[in-house]
């Protein structure tokens, strides 16, 4: 389902929300600021024309967000001023405008050649995301010979942005040149074109991942799960974090303390089953959040009375 952003007046915006629900779509976020409304949502591809007609009638703006519903890690070798803020913030902001939820991560020991390394905890944190974008430096020798060690063992697709022109990098899904260590913000069309290239590479990586997931899909969509959690769990609405239930390709991230709410989530009834039976619920490396990874159908067995989880890893 393609994702969209609606921007327009508050007047009659309820009609859009109702239409999205009627079409079997999913609302991600509704933000009302004064008289302006911003809505992010998904609708089935075949019904996009109907939404367009309504938006035209409401005189609002509609923008397609190809990365909506994904969580992307934007990684830098350090958090020093050599690598931050210019290229990293620009990449993260551009991906955000394309619909992704981005988290910026600075490695503790990422710089250098022989000395560059990534810790197990950092790797686990990056692997919680759907894809990662590494923004590296300007020297061809470093990129070719050393930097691939940072993302070699990652299980998520990695898009690398660096300075020199290279056809590809080992262990990277895609390499985008011209975005290495920059001492200025990207402002010209050529530079923004490079950011666009990064976004398109991430889009391709997510498509590839979605295609693999579709071979053995989970029982229900993460968007449906997000709606169920928001409707059932009162505390989610009181949580101050932005997007308290963040959708990912394989599940959701719930921004509530694991110690208090993991058991509650596991017992939550979704589509006729306990969530602990159809998903793996674990503690996130990011703060004390909860990660809910929906199990693929191959890891579930169908008993007479419904589905039962065969995974022993679910924390319930």
């Amino acid at each position: 389902m393609p994702g969209f952003l609606f921007e327009g007046g508050g007047y009659r915006h309820q009609e859009l929300l109702e239409l999205v629900e009627d079409l079997g779509g999913s609302l991600l976020q509704v933000r009302v600021v004064g008289t302006e409304v911003t809505v992010t949502f998904f609708v089935p591809e075949e019904d996009v024309a109907e939404v367009e007609d309504l938006v035209r009638d409401l005189q609002g703006k509609l923008k397609r967000l190809p990365l909506l519903g994904s969580e992307i890690a934007v990684v830098s070798p350090t958090i020093t001023r050599h690598h931050l803020p210019h290229p990293l913030c620009d990449v993260a902001e551009y991906l955000r405008r394309e619909g992704a939820k981005t988290n910026m991560i600075g490695l503790a020991r990422g710089p250098g050649q022989r000395i560059c390394q990534i810790s197990v905890e950092e790797r686990r944190l990056i692997e919680e995301h759907d894809a990662a974008v590494f923004v590296l430096g300007n020297f061809e020798y470093c990129l070719r010979e050393h930097k691939w060690r940072l993302f070699k063992d990652l299980s998520v697709p990695v898009v690398v942005a660096g300075g020199p022109e290279l056809p590809s990098l080992p262990h990277a899904f895609s390499y985008i040149s011209g975005l290495g260590r920059l001492p200025y913000r990207t402002r010209t069309f050529t530079e923004i074109g490079k950011l666009d290239e990064v976004a398109r590479a991430v889009e391709r990586a997510l498509e590839e991942r979605r295609r693999k997931l579709s071979l053995d899909p989970p029982l229900l969509s993460p968007l449906v799960l997000k709606g169920e959690i928001e409707n059932r769990l009162e505390e989610v609405r009181k949580c101050g974090a932005p997007l308290p239930v963040t959708p990912r390709l394989v599940g959701v991230r719930v921004k509530l303390p694991h110690s208090r709410f993991a058991r509650v989530l596991a017992g939550l009834e979704v589509a006729g089953y306990r969530l602990g039976e159809i998903a793996e619920i674990r503690r996130s490396v990011m703060r004390d959040y909860i990660l809910v990874d929906l199990l693929p159908l191959s890891r579930l067995e169908l008993p007479e009375k419904g589905l039962r989880a065969i995974s022993g890893r679910a924390e319930v």
């Binding site: 703006k61 020798y141 020199p164 402002r187 010209t188 050529t190």
Partner: protein
Amino acid sequence: MTEKVFVESLDPSYRYGYGVLMSKVIAEHALSELGLGGALEELRILVDMRKPLFAVSVRLGPPLPPVRVGDCARVQEGTDGIHVVLLDEGQAPFLARLLREKFGGSLEQLDRWEVVVPRGVMPAKELEGLVVSYPEERTMGRVMDAVDRIIPVGFRVRRAEREGNSLLLLASENPLREEWVGEVKEALKRPPVPVPPEKMEGIRRKVEAAEILPKFKEGAMPWRL
């Protein structure tokens, strides 16, 4: 304007590589951000990423004269005392400290920029000649800041040599070998070679020459329906 920043690769196979040329852009931005353009005569960067070695050599310009009260403030004799009106706000902390040390609690501050020195404590002419700050001392700190911004962050093994008005800083992530130091000093004896302008094409940002990609032209935004 004469060129002040020069980059050279000690590795002949990577003479005009992207990283080498980009170091020049980064150095120029660092100097511009820190307002050091006038304080330096020459800055040379020598790079060999295969060793790995990164060297920065700085030659400072002629020492700047000390800033006096008359240079940064207007001094006027009035009926109630000598009025000192600050004109250069950058000198405010130094001037405030100087006046406080010299005249203590007898000063009267009228507003943010103006203080009154009591009558008869010091002649206005003498007050104008008092030294507020020595820019030379602060320049060195800013030069070190600029050099730190230019050198890659992973290169933490460093060796600094200062001689007269020049500074040489070598950095690597491995222990620095004596032959590397000799090689850098040998290279510095040769006159700097400017990078040919055609090599900087596509490296240095050119806003005027920026071409509008077809997909960014008006009415051709693929993400908008």
